[in-house]
Symmetry: C2
Amino acid sequence: MSAYGYSGRLARLLERLGIEPGDKVRVRKGGRVLEGIVMPSYGSGEVLVIKLGNGYNVGVEVEEGSIEKVGRAERGPPGSPVPLLEKVEVGEGRVFVLGCGGTVASRVDYETGAVRPYLTAEELALSSPEMLRYARIEAKQLLSILSEDMKPRLWEEIVRETAKAIEGGYDGIVIAHGTDTMSYTAAALSFAFHKGLPVPIAMTGAQRSSDRPSSDASFNLVAATLVAAKAPFAEVSVVMHGESGDTYALAHRGVRVRKMHSSRRDAFRSVNARPLAKVWPYEGKIELVEREFRRRGGELVVENGFEERVALIKHFPGMIAEVIEALLDKGFRGLVIEGTGLGHVSSDAIAALERAREMGVPVVVSTQTIFGRVNLNVYSTGRRMLAAGAIPVEDMLAEVAYVKLSWALARTRELQEVRRIMTTNLAGEISYFHGMELFPVSPNA
Amino acid sequence: MSAYGYSGRLARLLERLGIEPGDKVRVRKGGRVLEGIVMPSYGSGEVLVIKLGNGYNVGVEVEEGSIEKVGRAERGPPGSPVPLLEKVEVGEGRVFVLGCGGTVASRVDYETGAVRPYLTAEELALSSPEMLRYARIEAKQLLSILSEDMKPRLWEEIVRETAKAIEGGYDGIVIAHGTDTMSYTAAALSFAFHKGLPVPIAMTGAQRSSDRPSSDASFNLVAATLVAAKAPFAEVSVVMHGESGDTYALAHRGVRVRKMHSSRRDAFRSVNARPLAKVWPYEGKIELVEREFRRRGGELVVENGFEERVALIKHFPGMIAEVIEALLDKGFRGLVIEGTGLGHVSSDAIAALERAREMGVPVVVSTQTIFGRVNLNVYSTGRRMLAAGAIPVEDMLAEVAYVKLSWALARTRELQEVRRIMTTNLAGEISYFHGMELFPVSPNA
């Protein structure tokens, strides 16, 4: 690939015509005439990307004779830091942005209509120049994957790169990540760094891709940068829209957050806990909601490593025993079950729990109600589950229990030690009491 | 068992001493003296149950010489309808109460501390005399199981008994059920009766057992009876506390409700829909929230039958492909996957979806965010899933999709027909639009 990401025939054509990103061009294509500013390429480099007058970027295949340069843009194109640095007073902090894929770094492919990852981390960082108000930005695109392709092996890469960045002396780290699995990765980072984290790690993403007018990418990136640069808490947090408008974001604790809506901007919600803070990205304001948190400073301590052969399953009224048996047969080394209500499985599944124990496979129990906590001491089924070795995890989210079990099994296979880790609060994932007011209010109720 | 449920040695002792439920007795036990009213037995019949002055029931083993009768109660004991009928003006309606187990019909076993099912349906009905204000009550205890032991085979029994009761000409049916799996059974009834239901079926239960001072059993039973007797909608609903106090209940549509908290009285919430109505059980008031509903009347049409070899699984960032493979190997005939966000699975799981299709196993896709809807047309992964035969089900809850798939597979194994059933709205489980205001408001957000 040549500079600006264009390649092959297109790169040679642009070079011959003296066209660079930032230049204004006119393209004739199938009877239509498009005018716009040439953008840096994303994707294959074989399609010219131009920003139209309406602000949309389009990808267009150009041929010899179909394109002409009609003017040089006064400022450099997005992706070129110079003009941005001229118009924004750069903050004193230093923030490192680690790009891990997802919609926050995606574009609509106008050829196919699908959404694909695209930006380099620099483009990502500089797409939201307001970030620079709070810090100088350095960036690296670590992964270019869709959110649903996140895996424990990739958590390890993210932990490694994040640790490296923290050692670089930054005031905070922003991790741009797909929203679908962001809370899982947030939990993974929370456990990996629970023994020592000197600066904030603010994860963020976008529910709508950054070339749509309704995109939340920029707002969230700026809010996360503010948290990374200025927040008093050295915690792994997820920083996303707090309500559907562009007013404030919420910084949720990484082990207490869940994506609760498929598409709303304010889909991320703290569960069984208050958020850490409200964040007004354009006003530069952080208002603490939670008063107990880890402060900045101290040493970085990394405990990396995640066992992949762990499954998260959900109880349902039917053949759940067969599901557990099938996973034991398949060689899974740990199971997290979202039980019913207080954490129950059906009576006929208890034999499968006993078999798991005999095989040395820990079975961790959370609840599918999401809110509230498990308690296996109330009903006879719960007591039988305890006798069969089930490990109830209080008010820990099932998804967090899954990540924690994966992390625990990379440290030890000894059942008693796994139990000790799972039932000990390490990063705020367990609390033994929380107020009634933490249950959200439904409409018409 | 003798009358009042006592049996064996204890029954003979009580008979010899002329002690019957309602009598006041004094029991000496291990140096303590207990005084209270003899209650009807529940459980084995070998432990005497007495109601103490503080309102609690205790179970106590009595022996010859350790018990004496100290007075005859003025009124009959709870469980004897006569005094209740004297003090309550009985409503004109006729409601049938079907007992299906769960906490609403449970007691704490004071011997072991565990909670166990106990009441007969008559005892259940008459434990809450306010029910009689709205209807004469007839009752049957169909199942005496814990909620987590509910199965598709038992849904069939409940459908059968409910249909029989409806044919008996009642104004409505109350189903007392464990709360943990109540929403699944509500969905099962919704599909079985979607073609014709002349009267309301109001399911209810209790989050705290009925011999605890904080029990919600009575409030919920009265509210459900009011709905069964008087509501204008002939719908399957779940009628439970609307907020934590004893003010109003909510009637949720059976295919739109979810238990969202492990222990709160107001744990049940409508998802992606408004509740059908607010219900004030002691004021006798029903306030409609939803204006579109099936009205009373018409013929009863029953489509019973549920396939048991269906699984509900949840996507997680890890070896989800292996989970799907394991269930295909195990002979499951249908899968519902709670995908990420808009309904995605990881790219490496798409081959497993293709294998499912080759095996004739439908794979239905919902979302683990709970709120919102799936859309497999936005991202490339979704399109690949569609190409592999995945069946997205709009804004249908995953649990409801599981029940519906079980029901659909009992009608047909033909993939195209399963797809048609799953993507057609039958009982209000799918809507193509709903307002933003349906997302609950979190505290501090």
